[in-house]
């Protein structure tokens, strides 16, 4: 058991709870109809009557995932991409710049 600031965390209790919930879910599932075969028209995807494409064609590649998120955050990402130039001189100037900022940060607090 791990004591945190506001309470505690015990993974063993959590796992027990997880198992109990799983058993309850299984019981509920077992109360369903036993004669359902899982075959027939209802298991197929319905794409407005269009023929379902081959399974090999439908894998969504990484570049297309979270397209909407990228689109809505376009402003943020274009700024970020601009900063990540990949130019080694810029890496050093960022380092020197941040050192200077820290310098101001530490000395200015004394003055105020």
């Amino acid at each position: 058991m791990l004591r945190t600031t506001g309470g505690y965390w015990d993974p063993v209790l959590w796992i027990i709870a997880f198992i109990v919930i799983a058993i309850v879910a299984y019981i509920i599932r077992a109360m369903g109809r036993g004669d359902y075969s899982g075959k027939g028209e209802q298991t197929k995807p319905y794409i407005s009557g269009v023929e379902e494409p081959e399974k090999e064609m439908v894998h969504i590649r990484a570049g297309n995932i979270y397209w909407g998120f990228m689109e809505s955050m376009k402003g943020y990402y274009s700024t970020m991409m601009k900063i990540h130039t990949g130019l080694v001189n810029d890496y050093i100037s960022w380092f020197v710049g941040i050192s200077a900022l820290l310098f101001i940060f530490i000395f200015l607090v004394e003055v105020i």
């Binding site: 791990l2 600031t5 965390w9 990484a62 530490i106």
Partner: protein, 518 residues
Amino acid sequence: MNTDWLLQHSPALIIALPLLAAFLMPVVDRISRKARNVFAIIVLIVEEILVLFLAYDVFGGNPHIYTMGAANPLTTVPAQAAVPIRIVLEVDAMGIFMAMISATVCLAAGIYSLAFIEEEKGKGKYYTLLLLILVGMLGMELTGDMFNLFVFLEVLTIACTALIAYRSNTGDAVEGAFKFLIISSIAALFVLFAIALLYAQYDLLNMAALASAIQYSNLDKIALVLLVAAFAMKCGSVPMHFWTPDAYSVAPASITAILVAASQASLYALFRVCFSLYGVTLNLSTIGGALIIFGLLSMFVGVTMALPQKDIKRLMAYHAISQTGYMLLGVGVGLYLLAKPEFSTYGIKAMEGGIFHIINHAMYKGLLFLTSGAIFYRLKTRNLNEMGGLGHSMKWTAIFFIIGALAIAGIPPFNGFASKLLIYEAAYKVSPILSIIAMLVSILTLASFVKVFHSAFMGPKIYDVEEVPKSMLAGMAVLTFVIILFGLFPGWVVGNIVHPAAQALADQAAYIQAVIGG
């Protein structure tokens, strides 16, 4: 062999063993391929055992001191002098905690490398450099001397650079290595300059002696700025993180896992400088605040930059930055509250969270990089767009990846959740906004690993590949074992390992006392 003798000399042995083995490696390499592999693994296992053996004693409440070159290793201050002159290794709970991380990650990566680099050239040199990285990390973590810290930092830099450029037949690897080298060496020069500034004032190089003498004068402040900036960059905190994805993505995956631990050695040096060297003389709230800001920026920028990445290792490298942010936040909150009454209630909890996160992160991010290496081993590509359907054939890799991904996203009951929970709750007491950002970042982390899992392992079977060789699976299994162990027993781990480490870091007086007082 007498165990007392071994225990007393183990701090020096821990550093000396891989150093000697590293330079023996080219000789052993001449004998046969098998001899080299066996030798490397035996050295790494013995090293791990030595570290755990010493750790058992240190966590039992005995910080170890080892004076190099003295007749009796415990006499830190020679009879003719008033201050420590020799190099002193000071092994307290925090130092040995970090050494455990380094040794474990190197062991897993070493086992993994047996098959992983089988088809490459220069394997003897690979193991030599791997052991040298281990020397650099352990040296940084166990030393109690500022200049020694610098030397080991440079050993680490040179060995890491050579291994990042290991696949030098591609331009990318050389470019990444060059960027890493130039950035690291300028940081190391800043560190050396800071050490010279401190030496100019106090004529001391020993950390504990310096800590007892330090006045926080203007020159000390300059030295502090240089040290904090240099180590913050070496650990890859935003906005000085640019080298991290470049270097991590091009290195062989086993080396990337070690590079994570190497960055954490720099993180350790940062904490050591802030807590043990400057400690309560600092205008605490400012530098603690700076660490919190670094942490917040690292978390947010790291994870948002990870989302659109198409290179699997580059994506994970950005996550490494983001996770470093959690450690900086946790320990930064602790530093912010140090010497305030709140410290004993939730300041120490925040530090425990941050320090617990260091070991968790080394384990699961090491594991994730190793799985990315397994994918690379079979597909010879790092591009996520070209992957798909690997779950059909690489089942074990997929399982290891899921465990690593759930752990990094902080899903209970894995270890990432426990450390993040400690950080959330303690940071909430300082300011709710810190916790909100930390949780948001955790969600985005999960989102981006869902992306990786989907595009690499799910979908129809595209590639007809086999599971990776057994030694690679064994390397991943070592780290998975630690993740699950830490996930199931976080209370024991925090109580017996993490809390002493946090206490050792926070208690500057004990750190000084161990060298000068006794």
